[in-house]
């Protein structure tokens, strides 16, 4: 006999399920397995994975690497922020701190770079506008992601993790030039 869920069931309640329940259980289970399989599948076949190489780094050490990176490849300034054009295939650095992204990067469409993200103070969030690509930027951790810009244009980096009262001011920039554009000669136009 059926009873509501407020009643203590009497005797043995371990009884066979209805056919419709079995059908739904089977379908739901199979669907969950598909959900599971999609993730390894995308690691094998898909182009977007949050894996990267992950290591710990002292904020001061990271700041030094960023400075070295800027000194080596700086080609100008944009809005007071160093503009850097690293060669395709190189390691590139982006430093988050309250409330700025340094430097501005000039990259080449279709080329692969290894992007190192870290923070000098609190958590920040990397959000590449308008593609909506998001990563967490955690102080003490170097998140090195291989990235390949797909098309030329100007893109912004919005901070999307609350990082204090200037959070909404924290916008950076990435410029992507076409694959065949000439390399910059020092200073920016």
């Amino acid at each position: 006999m059926y009873a509501p869920g407020t009643t203590p069931p009497q005797g043995v309640w371990w009884k066979p399920a209805h056919r419709s329940e079995k059908i739904w259980f089977t379908i739901a289970f199979v669907w969950c397995m598909i959900l599971f399989a999609m993730m390894p599948f995308w690691h094998l076949r898909g182009g977007q994975n949050p894996s990267g190489t992950r290591s710990t780094v002292e904020p001061t050490a990271f700041a030094e690497r960023v400075q070295e990176f800027i000194d080596t490849y700086q080609v100008g300034e944009d809005n007071g922020i160093p503009l850097v054009e690293p060669p395709p295939g190189s390691d590139i650095y982006l430093q988050a701190r309250m409330w700025s992204w340094t430097p501005v990067l000039r990259l080449r469409a279709g080329a692969e770079y290894t992007l190192h993200l870290s923070s000098l103070d609190v958590n920040h969030g990397f959000n590449l506008f308008p593609f909506n690509v998001n990563f967490q930027v955690v102080p003490g951790y170097d998140y090195a992601l291989r990235v390949t810009p797909t098309e030329a244009g100007e893109f912004q980096i919005v901070c999307n993790e609350f990082c204090g009262v200037g959070h909404h001011l924290m916008v950076g920039k990435v410029i992507v030039v076409p694959a065949d554009a000439p390399a910059a000669e020092g200073g920016d136009r």
Binding site: N123, V138, V147
Partner: protein, 584 residues
């Protein structure tokens, strides 16, 4: 089985004065349980009021056309909103649910009233400490308080006090189950609703253990006495933050079963399936907190895939089972009581004017279709890249914890007022439309929010016009439109929330007492006087088979619509992901 509502109460162990007998349900209610439920429910409502006012302020700031608060106040009020809603409102209400599902449903006494009241005082004191730090600007860190953002030590101390109180209540819940068993206050196994609450309580212990593991070190860190690694903090904090959402889910599902029983005499289709689904929650949920860390630098892909996929999906499976058994139990209950016309006759004839029923129905739909589908999709390792920290996330959880949990809590309140407070429901007409305003408003709000998030609009952000930022971020005009719709939906939901507070406060403090005897003329939900469970047939009934759809055809069709929506949304997001930069 003349009274199918409860197991036959056995002889009381305590003195008769300590109990009253509920004239409606025949349940024997311990007066201490009564008082504890009332106290917790009242504090929960106060927290809801504070959270609700802050919701409106935050909403009117994110709506850039109004942009009400300045930046400092925005983040402060957002902190207040998160803490009051997600922590204080929800948890005080859950404490009331724990007392109800143990002492009341099992006809038992609260074994240690003194400890219970101490726990209550601890929770209130902790909450007040936290409120003080937030309102005085000593804790502008949002409810996640990610280290190394620093709040006043009293903020962490308050959270710890609050958590200790909550741990005590959970222990009292377990003790009540033991006492009820020993004093034989019920026969058979504990009812499914109590089993669901038991699930919530077990998860609560796991959760609160994580809470202690993170807030105690963080408290000492805030005093400058030790170090806390930011990534370790995120890992353990989400062990608390996510598991606590599973408390909410388990409590909400238990209330779905409870409201189904109270409003339409919903039955348990199969105890084995429903209980197994609850056990899956307990087994697999802690690992699911990994889905908050999918795009974090602290963890490798294997860890992410294993924790979010295999483990989390077993919890997803559990939710999909409840998503079937709750409507199925309703359908079967209605069919057994004679509503057998066609495939959806039972749904058409359901008591849509009963705020308990409409809350449950809307809560199931919003939780499943909006919250569940988006949650599983965004919690996929790679898809998280296009969802993390955007408005898609608050869009998702306002569908789960607000349209789902909070709405279910509101629905049960309309029964708690007559059954526990012994009062009529004031402004009953308003109470009848309240679930629709809140549910539909929340639906519009969270869908618009989710959609704005697909354009990359960040969450927790004061100014998406970036007026003073070094570079322009030209969001598409569609975003303004979506934010406008979000504001409209949010305001409608806020109106629903305000009506809820008006109705409950008025009923409890100024409301008319229930009349003696016949209640059908009193303004209470119909399930209170026409106890639907009593109308269930006591003999075996031949159920009609609708071909392949079986004996619960309406539910079968509904869950298949759900499945199609799920599959489409899920794969659409993979497609969306494939358009962005290559990254790995």
């Amino acid at each position: 089985m003349s009274d199918t509502f409860v197991g036959a109460p056995a002889a009381p162990a305590a003195s008769a004065q300590a109990f009253r007998t509920c004239p409606t349900t025949g349940l024997k209610v311990h007066r201490q349980a009564d008082a504890l439920i009332k106290a917790n429910a009242v504090v929960a409502t106060v927290a809801l009021l504070v959270g609700g006012i802050s919701a409106i302020l935050v909403l009117l700031t994110r709506w850039q056309a109004v942009h009400l608060l300045d930046a400092t106040m925005f983040y402060r009020v957002l902190t207040i909103h998160g803490m009051n809603m997600l922590i204080f409102f929800i948890l005080f209400f859950e404490m009331a649910v724990l007392y109800f599902a143990s002492a009341v449903l099992l006809n038992c006494r609260v074994p240690t009233p003194k400890v219970a009241w101490t726990a209550f005082v601890l929770m209130v004191a902790g909450a007040l400490l936290v409120e003080w730090t937030m309102f005085t600007g000593r804790a502008d860190v949002l409810f996640t308080s990610y280290v190394p953002l620093r709040a006043h030590p009293a903020f962490y101390g308050g959270v710890i006090l609050f958590a200790v109180g909550a741990i005590l209540v959970t222990c009292i819940f377990f003790a009540t189950l033991v006492v009820a068993k020993r004093e034989r206050t019920y026969e058979g196994s504990v009812p499914l609703v109590t089993f669901g609450a038991l699930t919530a309580a077990i998860i609560a212990l796991i959760t609160l253990a994580h809470g202690a593991a993170i807030y105690i070190p963080t408290f000492f860190w805030s005093l400058g006495k030790m170090n806390v690694d930011p990534e370790v903090y995120r890992l353990i904090w989400w062990g608390l933050g996510h598991s606590s959402q599973q408390i909410n889910v388990a409590a909400m599902v238990a209330i779905w079963y409870l409201l189904g029983a109270l409003t339409v005499g919903a039955v348990v289709v199969n105890e084995k399936i429903s209980r197994t689904a609850f056990v899956l929650y307990i087994l697999f949920i802690s690992m699911a907190s990994a889905h908050h860390l999918l795009v974090d630098p602290g963890f490798g892909p294997a860890w992410k895939v294993v924790n979010t996929s295999y483990f989390m999906y077993m919890a997803v499976l559990a939710s999909m089972l409840h998503g079937f058994t709750v409507p199925a139990g309703t359908e079967l209950g209605m069919r057994l009581r004679g509503f057998t016309q066609g495939i959806f006759g039972w749904l058409r004839r359901a008591p849509w004017g009963d705020p308990g029923f409409s809350s449950m129905a809307l809560s199931v739909v919003i939780f499943g279709f909006l919250g569940g589908i988006t949650g599983v999709t965004f919690g996929t390792e790679q898809i998280n890249i296009i969802a993390h920290n955007t408005l898609r996330i608050p869009g998702h959880f306002h569908a789960t914890v607000v349209g789902g949990t909070a709405l279910a809590f509101m629905g049960i309140t309309y029964y708690v007022i007559p059954l526990i407070f012994r009062k009529q429901v004031a402004f009953y007409r308003l109470a009848q439309i309240q679930p629709y305003l809140f549910g539909i408003g929340m639906t519009v709000f969270s869908m618009a929010m989710t959609f704005a998030g697909t354009f990359g609009v960040p969450r927790r952000h004061w100014d998406i016009t970036f007026a003073n930022a070094p570079f322009d971020v030209p969001f598409s005009p569609a975003v303004d439109l979506m934010i406008g719709i979000m504001a409209a939906g949010g305001l409608v939901a806020a109106l629903g929330g305000a009506i809820y507070i008006l109705v409950t406060v008025w009923s409890v403090f100024f409301g008319k007492a229930l009349p003696e005897g016949d209640l059908s003329r009193a303004s209470v939900p119909p399930g209170v006087y026409r106890v639907p469970a009593r109308e269930l047939p006591t003999e075996e009934v031949e159920l009609r088979e609708y071909g392949r759809l079986g004996v619960m055809p309406g539910t079968m069709i509904l869950v298949f619509i759900f499945l199609v929506a799920f599959v489409v949304y899920y794969f659409a997001n993979w497609k969306l992901l494939s358009f962005v930069w290559k990254v790995g």
